[in-house]
Symmetry: C2
Subunit: 413 residues, 2 copies
Amino acid sequence: MAVRKRSSRDIRSESRLDVLHALLSAGESNRNELARTTGLSLATVATVVSELLAEGLVEEAGLSVSGVGRPTTTLRIHGARGLIAGIDVAETYVSAHVFDAALAEVGTADLALDEHETSAEYVVDAIVRALDAAVASTGLDRSRLLGVGVALPGLVQRSTGAISVVVPKWSWRAEDLIDLLRERVGLPLVVENPLKAIATAELWLGTGRGAASMVTINLGTGVGAGIVLEGQILRGATNSAGEWGHSLLVHEGRGCRCGRRGCVEAYVGAPGIQQTLREIAPDHPLADPDLPQRDVIGALATALRSPTPDPAVVETIARTSRYLGAAVADVVAIINPELVMLTGWTAWALGDDLLPGTEAEIRAQSPNGAATDLTVGISTVRGNSAAIGMATLAFERFLGDVGLVTTRATLAL
Amino acid sequence: MAVRKRSSRDIRSESRLDVLHALLSAGESNRNELARTTGLSLATVATVVSELLAEGLVEEAGLSVSGVGRPTTTLRIHGARGLIAGIDVAETYVSAHVFDAALAEVGTADLALDEHETSAEYVVDAIVRALDAAVASTGLDRSRLLGVGVALPGLVQRSTGAISVVVPKWSWRAEDLIDLLRERVGLPLVVENPLKAIATAELWLGTGRGAASMVTINLGTGVGAGIVLEGQILRGATNSAGEWGHSLLVHEGRGCRCGRRGCVEAYVGAPGIQQTLREIAPDHPLADPDLPQRDVIGALATALRSPTPDPAVVETIARTSRYLGAAVADVVAIINPELVMLTGWTAWALGDDLLPGTEAEIRAQSPNGAATDLTVGISTVRGNSAAIGMATLAFERFLGDVGLVTTRATLAL
């Protein structure tokens, strides 16, 4: 792969994205304010706004008068321009979310997947059913959909041109899934792995916008990182960047479900946190491996809120913070980002409990000075951030299709 | 720090760098060939070549006639345009190298540093003496120097504007060194840490040119990584990216000289390799901690070349390959590069012995598919690659000063 060349087309494209991002985060704005928040010249903002108005992506929301001078036109994203779907596919569920063009959620539908049914037909059928149900819940017609983004578990890769999806539990060939999906969805489609979708959501809607470098640390059953450098998701040579969950934390340590040993995920994934509890208190009621993961994590959070917190739970959180901090410190050593945002359902349930210890460990374990200017926080993007991120990627593809932006090669189908 | 904006100025700047890089690697070339190797249009190449001819950076080397048609003008870098110095400062030595403008080495001088003398005055004085001696060895006048690049050990950082140098053994304030250096050198100056200098050397003169993503793994007394993404060195928020040597390999493992435990460097730095030998064969003659590091590494290489290689040495190399492979696999998991190049004096001495085991371990320990398209090799850039890299950075600064390129903010003084 050759080094990507920049063109003046890229610069125009970036200006349009900057204006859209600024409008999304402001809700309503005007040309002067957009020039200030984006750092673009007023002339550029005026040109870009005209293009976005012409494409129906931005609308005029009225006039506002402030102090002396001419009244200014208030602008906002034209939500009714169309619908975008973001679908999060995991090994056990499909969660479809429909957004308007201003990325406000307008409908959703969830389906459970039978883990033992692993044919491509079964999975694609579930995706399509969830999508249709989510669209139906909006009361709007399916023809209003501008695009669909699907986050597939495991590694969605590009290697020598072909897209492949590697999901250890799913045995079918990736090409079959991709072909079937395209055929059954019948709309502009983007696939990506959830880590990159989650980082994209943070970039469009979270604290990430404006940071020159950010790492999102996704904590759930699996764990992984999304890396954003200068406003772009780091994809890597085969779209596998961010597989931090399967980097090494403990040499020859716990077995990981990926088949290797000592991976970060084996310690800070939800089952890993439960295993830490089991090591501390083997007979603890929450150590039962048959309990649903989310119930365990929720119960740990509840236990910590008690006036007399369970010492085994307190110790589990302390150890998990140290594991997580040491593992994040490796990313800090290698990438040296400005911002690390913890996200995912474990982070939302336990983030406030994990954050102080994790942050202290990151600072203690990072090489001298690498964490000096680092900000560590819990993401403010809630809901299904993989689905939200996929919707933003599908929206970017739509913007590309209508000629407004030159997106980096995403996995568009 | 805001997201960097691209401008058409950057694009012109990149074209000029591309042509210079292509000329450097070809030695001699012509406009048509340059258009082919850079992917730029013939018109752009013609414009860029005129600019470089006008600045005296490129010269016409003659006419060549091939087959039918007009003879073509052969072009090459105008080495006599001036001199560039690259200086590698370590805790125990200063090594100054002087290059012509075509980056061919024309003079060098080395000085030993007394590790116990750690005043800024002492270190700066040694840098200036080495520089002057290296220039004197060329027989050319110091006034021919276009710029000087100095690689300083430890972390050369930018944090909230100020440049600081963190060298654990050196107690003086960084500002004093920087001020003194600027005053005593009296020439356009660039400072950087050796990891980024080494990656820059690989990018200008090694296999890295043309790779969209590359990681250089420097193996010496200390170890670290240089990360290149889309032709740019990853600096990080505080210029600390690449401190992979102090990422975690073994949780609560060997003590590292940085004060933490289990760092990669404690296993694959030269003293770490010797410690592995000591663990295998405590009484081995090469396990003596008083032996000079380079002698130990050289003797290990010699022992492996014997018809009956010492089993303790063979086992040391096997374990070191596994440590190194596991540690590089973490970078592969996070960055997913196209190319990993091993470099530094340990890699040059033991690289061929370490490579097969290291590469196998990288592939075994990387997440599914992250290493699919990965190339692992030993750098072909020899000599003092930190000094070579600093000379290229000083050359880039010179190109910036004469208005030919817009360099990324380097640590220019």
